[in-house]
Symmetry: C2
């Protein structure tokens, strides 16, 4: 029986085939995400992977349904696997915002699902770090969020030579739109043309812009000038103060396709241009009001960083550590009459927090030793009886080849000092 197309199995390393997905690499990325978010004072939350369909159509319109894993449950509710986290966050905040001091800084690591019929071979699920700041309209919040984004990527070993954050502003584009007498009904269409500018042929963009009364020349001139708005200037100054200025540049190409962004928007890319965007986000000051049915009105901003492009990039830059079995001690049981005492020793080691393993059943000593090596054990430990009939533990460090005999009761202490 096969798994569903577009879904992933995560296996422990070493992987049987290099193109498989590693549970160890996934956990490594999750740990770095979690640690960095915590250092910034972000708190973890989570919601259900299954939500009422309406939560997503309220935010994104009925057209999103074509991309969803939606169905009717046995209670005849229209439900959907979550394609993104923001609507759930907005729902959760709207329900309990009074209990949390603003600004709220929260993160989550949800698995997200999209059914896209046409995209053969592409994944239909991924994991995402979602970090959001709610209740602060000052650009200081935008800078704090972007600093977290940068430090999250830095925690994985990426530097200013590997990636850059392209920073832009819906407000700047809105001003441009008004200055050029755009028709408000066409504003979202205009943003979507800008969003595709770098991926479409010039003539096509020019033609589309012309149809709603804009010229590609004006648009290109505005992008090339790249003058930061006061808001963007404040964010740049803030990031410069932190020593993170080299990671950011103003680039008005970025506008983000989604309708709900209201202020600054940004995307991070690898500098070699080999991959899709690593992460993106921006301000969505109206969304909580929309989701809460006008009950709660709070400014907000956030980003989502997926695990798939990130993992490709880390692999390409050789920044993933080796994920092997790592064992503090492998207990060799060569004398079966000492199995009970060996089990007690193993229990001691594990109780002391050490990672310890052994052969569950009787096995030849060379086979046991080979297994210890395969599992990358730091030490082997073996019980023996000395001539006086007393138990002695013989330790061997598999890297230094150093050997040592100690009292069995002292092994855990001895290994805790060296592992």
């Amino acid at each position: 029986m096969e798994r569903l197309p577009g879904f992933r199995d995560f296996y422990p390393e070493p992987l049987p085939q290099p193109d498989m997905w590693s549970a160890d690499a996934r956990q490594y990325i999750f740990s770095k995400w979690r640690q960095t978010a915590r250092r910034y004072g972000f708190r973890e939350y989570d919601g259900p992977p299954l939500e009422p369909l309406e939560l997503f159509t309220t935010k994104s319109g009925e057209e999103i349904v074509g991309q969803l894993y939606n169905f009717q449950d046995k209670g005849e509710r229209d439900v959907s696997l979550r394609p993104e986290m923001t609507p759930t966050l907005a729902r959760m905040i709207a329900a309990h915002e009074r209990s949390y001091k603003k600004p709220v800084k929260w993160f989550a690591i949800p698995q997200l699902f999209r059914y896209e019929r046409q995209q053969k071979g592409r994944l239909r699920e991924h994991f995402q770090l979602n970090a959001d700041i709610i209740g602060e309209k000052d650009p200081a919040a935008d800078a704090e969020l972007i600093a977290l984004l940068i430090d999250t990527l830095r925690s994985l070993g990426l530097t200013e030579k590997d990636f850059t954050v392209r920073l832009s502003s819906r407000n700047a584009w809105h001003d441009f739109f008004v200055r050029h007498h755009g028709n408000t009904a066409k504003e979202h269409e205009f943003y979507q043309i800008i969003d595709k500018l770098e991926r479409e042929a010039q003539e096509q963009s020019a033609e589309k812009l012309g149809r709603i009364g804009f010229s590609l020349e004006d648009v290109s001139a505005f992008i090339e000038k790249s003058e930061p708005t006061p808001e963007l200037k404040a964010i740049l100054d803030n990031l410069n103060s932190r020593g993170l200025g080299d990671y950011v540049k103003i680039d008005y190409h970025v506008i983000r396709g989604l309708a709900y962004y209201t202020g600054i928007v940004f995307e991070a890319f690898d500098l070699k241009g080999e991959f899709r965007a690593i992460t993106g986000g921006g301000r969505y000051d109206n969304l909580i009001k929309l989701i809460s049915g006008d009950k709660v009105d709070l400014p907000a901003l956030g980003f989502g960083m997926g695990d798939v492009v990130l993992l490709e990039l880390l692999k390409a830059r050789k920044l993933l550590p080796k994920f092997e079995a790592t064992l503090d001690a492998f207990c060799l049981i060569e004398d079966e009459s000492l199995r009970a005492e060996s089990l007690k020793l193993i229990q001691d080691l594990r109780s002391a927090g050490l990672i310890a393993d052994y052969s569950l059943t009787a096995a030849k000593s060379d086979k046991q030793f080979k297994r210890a090596q395969e599992l990358k054990a730091t030490q082997t430990v073996k019980l023996e009886r000395n001539q006086a009939g007393e138990l002695v533990a013989r330790l061997k460090n598999l890297k230094t080849r150093e050997e040592l005999s100690v009292n069995p009761a002292e092994v855990a202490k001895q290994l805790c000092g060296t592992h």
Copy 2:
């Protein structure tokens, strides 16, 4: 907009209401699960939360469909959210078993889903620690798995005064069944009657047993005698060697309702009898063969430990730590002209691995100090200029009230020593 009935939102602590679910408690339990499994040399894996429906009906029969979140996806595939992890594990093992040395010791922390129409107010999802050993038929594997189960609960502060593992054997019951000339076609029905023995009225059980040719007296006598089979004896001896004997007792009441168990079975209960089973599992030596369509045949055993009963138990025994915001340092910015320098300092602290926060925008100093206290900051740090115009960092330990002035470049080092 409300979340779906039976699903949970996980909020950061302190929780607005005591009956809400805590993201911090969840993460605490997951960490302990992960740490303990690793100490035992178990490796992490995961599969998709959505699988082909057939994977679950192959294992459990068509009748399980009534309890599933199943639907047809947009590619007209019959799919289901996973109600349990074992079929996915069996599928993954069957696909790549040759690449992994036996015995395989794997764990996962999946979210599982069951749609049960009648059970109003009950959860329709939960998380589970799943730990399995594959490829070893010796009872030494059963003992290793049960030791992990016990140590997982011990890592959360539970002791032999809080819980016990009731150990039983399908083989022992099978022998009983054969000895009493049971009709093979009724064997599963017989197991299901035994499974309900403690929850049903005696007359009802006696009547049901009578219908398939057994007497309640024989059954009760067998349970009361509780003689361990050689297999159970080996497991008890093994656990005794580890010093874990006090956590286990033979109890033939336990048989596990599911059809696929083949050897030893077990359940852990709180000793006050206040809660449902904390965890349960057993041997399923035929399942991998079944799921793989006879391609792979490996003995296996495992357990599942859910987060819901466990959390209730830990709460009742007051074993959950306090989950508050914990901050190593809160940076007070009382002089806005020093905001840039303060941001640099905050960046230094976070880069050193410290959890640091501050007021994103200008705020009165007493309001900032109050925020530092709310966030349970260990220290406050504040930049000032001395009379020579040089920057000085003033540290204050909020517990000891100790104060200290240091060079701003030294703050991170200073706090790393004390946090």
